[in-house]
Symmetry: C2
């Protein structure tokens, strides 16, 4: 008998590429030993959490025998944790942000789901530049939406503003950007974002209802060579920032993130009430209590970005020596090189013969490229050089 809905059955059939690579990797590691497999397939932050996280846990242990120590709280999160984050984020974004302008969520993934549940009418569209984070399509369809994409420019992965403008119609409710970007490492410039906002303002006026600009930016802290990630909240009255502490505090498993709205948004109290409701009824209820307390204790600290930068440079040397074409990532911990020969799935298989694990760009809606994650020790990156050369016939 059929246990699952037909939609979820369908999802299972097209299991993710990342998962496939994970399983292939486990097989290879069992066969050759973990140190002989160069696994660049998973984006699991491997740096230890900053010291403030351990200290926060120790402090919490001291009061855990008090009533309500880890009990219910307002669905939007602890008042003091929200206030602290609002102050921090307000400085980062250059706006006056109040605790009431944000809610704490179960990671950025939980925040995106709560937001889409709150705003999407059935059949409305979420538009994102491709390549895109693989889960966006699921998040959209969870809430009756339709996920559409517009291909970014070759190699630089800059936004194609003309194509985006052409793709936005009366059903477009959200434009979703991820910068610094997974899988490309691109950071959209101030000029690109200003151009996009101009389009959204026009469309919002034309259709008489807001086209939200949602920025998913868990990698904001992780940029290189002095690059700046543009602040979107001051740029657009219908801007929404979603993020998490999975990467900067290495808290990925504890699931702590937030949704913050432009403080100048007309009628924003209504949107916040909706978000608080959807955060509750989707079953999150509130962001995890311990995560909130750890975030408040560790806010402003971060894993060591210099380690990621050294790995980035090592990976660039490896790719240069192997004769690959790529854009140097400006942020996040991903390279997205061109697949030699053009067929990314075939090329990723060639890499696998060298025990190098990557994810084909097809999995991110952008065939012809492949993704490499540098969440791994620099020695592993350097040791993979030979494999990268051989896979490219050198």
């Amino acid at each position: 008998m059929q246990l699952l809905s037909s939609q979820i059955s369908g999802y299972l059939e097209r299991a993710s590429w990342i998962r496939k690579m994970f399983e292939e990797g486990a097989k290879l590691k069992a066969e050759f030993g973990a140190d002989k497999v160069y696994d660049f397939s998973l984006g699991n932050p491997d740096l230890p959490p900053p010291a403030a996280v351990g200290k926060g846990l120790a402090e919490l242990a001291k009061v855990a025998d008090k009533p309500f120590a880890l009990g219910y709280m307002p669905n939007a999160g602890y008042d003091d944790a929200r206030a602290k984050l609002a102050e921090h984020l307000g400085k980062e974004q250059g706006v006056a942000l109040a605790a009431g302008d944000l809610i704490l969520t179960c990671g950025a993934a939980g925040g995106l789901n709560a937001f889409l549940r709150a705003v999407l009418e059935p059949g409305e569209e979420v538009l994102a530049p491709a390549p895109f984070f693989v889960e966006y399509g699921f998040y959209t369809e969870n809430h009756g939406g339709v996920f559409k994409t517009v291909r970014a420019k070759e190699l630089t992965f800059d936004l194609d503003l003309d194509a985006l403008a052409a793709a936005i119609g009366p059903k477009t409710r959200v434009v979703l950007v991820n910068s610094p970007n997974n899988p490309t490492g691109a950071v959209y410039s101030q000029a690109q974002m200003a151009g996009l906002v101009e389009i959204l303002q026009k469309k919002t006026a034309e259709y008489g209802r807001p086209v939200f600009l949602v920025a998913d930016e868990p990698y904001r802290f992780l940029v290189f060579d002095g690059v700046q990630v543009p602040a979107l909240l001051p740029l657009y009255e219908y801007a929404v920032v979603v993020s998490s502490f999975s990467k900067n505090l290495s808290l990925a498993g504890e699931r702590l993130g937030f949704v913050a709205v432009a403080p100048q948004m007309p009628d924003k109290a209504r949107l916040m009430a909706g978000l608080i409701l959807t955060n509750r009824i989707l079953g999150f209820v509130n962001a995890p209590a311990v995560g909130q307390k750890l975030m408040a204790a560790a806010l402003g600290s971060s894993v060591d970005v210099a380690v990621y930068d050294a790995r980035r440079k090592a990976m660039a040397e490896v790719l240069d020596a192997g004769g690959y074409e790529y854009s140097m990532p400006k942020g996040a911990f991903y390279f997205f090189p061109k697949a030699p020969g053009g067929d990314d799935v075939a090329f990723v298989n060639k890499l696998k013969e060298q025990r190098v694990l990557a994810v084909p760009g097809t999995g991110f809606g952008f065939p012809g490229y492949f993704r490499l994650t540098f969440c791994v020790d620099e020695t592993i990156i350097r040791a993979s050089a030979d494999g990268f050369k051989k896979a490219n016939g050198r």
Copy 2:
């Protein structure tokens, strides 16, 4: 401009009774002082977590500087936490349960949403006895389902099996029971559950597809007078148990729960794969890491049930002295007495004049009754006696 979807806008209009009482309560407390308001409206467990929770936090603090200490894990949860819970739950339910038969979730609320997302086709029905936990309707509609109810029997709140049988049709995908029950404190007997299972087996055979029996049982540990909560996993091959550690470990804010399926379910691996997927794509990704570790450390311990029992008896005395008609709760921390005069909303307002806060049964789909929570100190319960008398004209 309209920011929210029309459905979510509609939800906001019919704000919950519990929330209304919460706001009224805050007003009264500001006016008369917190100790002069007898607030029985909220089910927020007020007993401190067992000592194992604080110990677990202290242990975790020692290893928080290790890479991946709080990093990603399998979407179903830590392997060892799942295995430990499977062993514990297997004993409780009297079945051989493996780690793969359950997933850890973001509370029972997250578990219910993940389950409904996995199994519901658009327009399919979730059927529950009324009165019911107020969020069930939202959880169902989140995933395109239709929520239907069948009124339980007067005063005892026993299941009306004939009415349930009549209400189950080809679109019924889930029968959802909550025992020990919020808001009534009822515990469905072994005979009632066996009767319900017999109906579900017939309907499943008749329609050629499973009607799941989902038991939401976060209050299983909290029963009085030696009452037993029947184990459902051995009773029915399409039984699913959802629960949390919010009440027995006072961990409500940290959001830790689970979904466990009958180990004899045909093709259960398919359902588990679907659950793991929906837990991921709804944005939970995985249950909070710290909560999982605390659950594993504290499994088998519990807040002091004797405290709740003493409060239950105190509340019964107060109600007896006030001349109320009610069933003595067999479990959970709720009374659900008849509203004198029959109009529950009017009567709850009378109670409020005495600074006694309750929630009308209308909010739980069962007019004519009202809910009292005994998550409050026994002295407050006893001090409310006069108010209860006066509200009932004594």
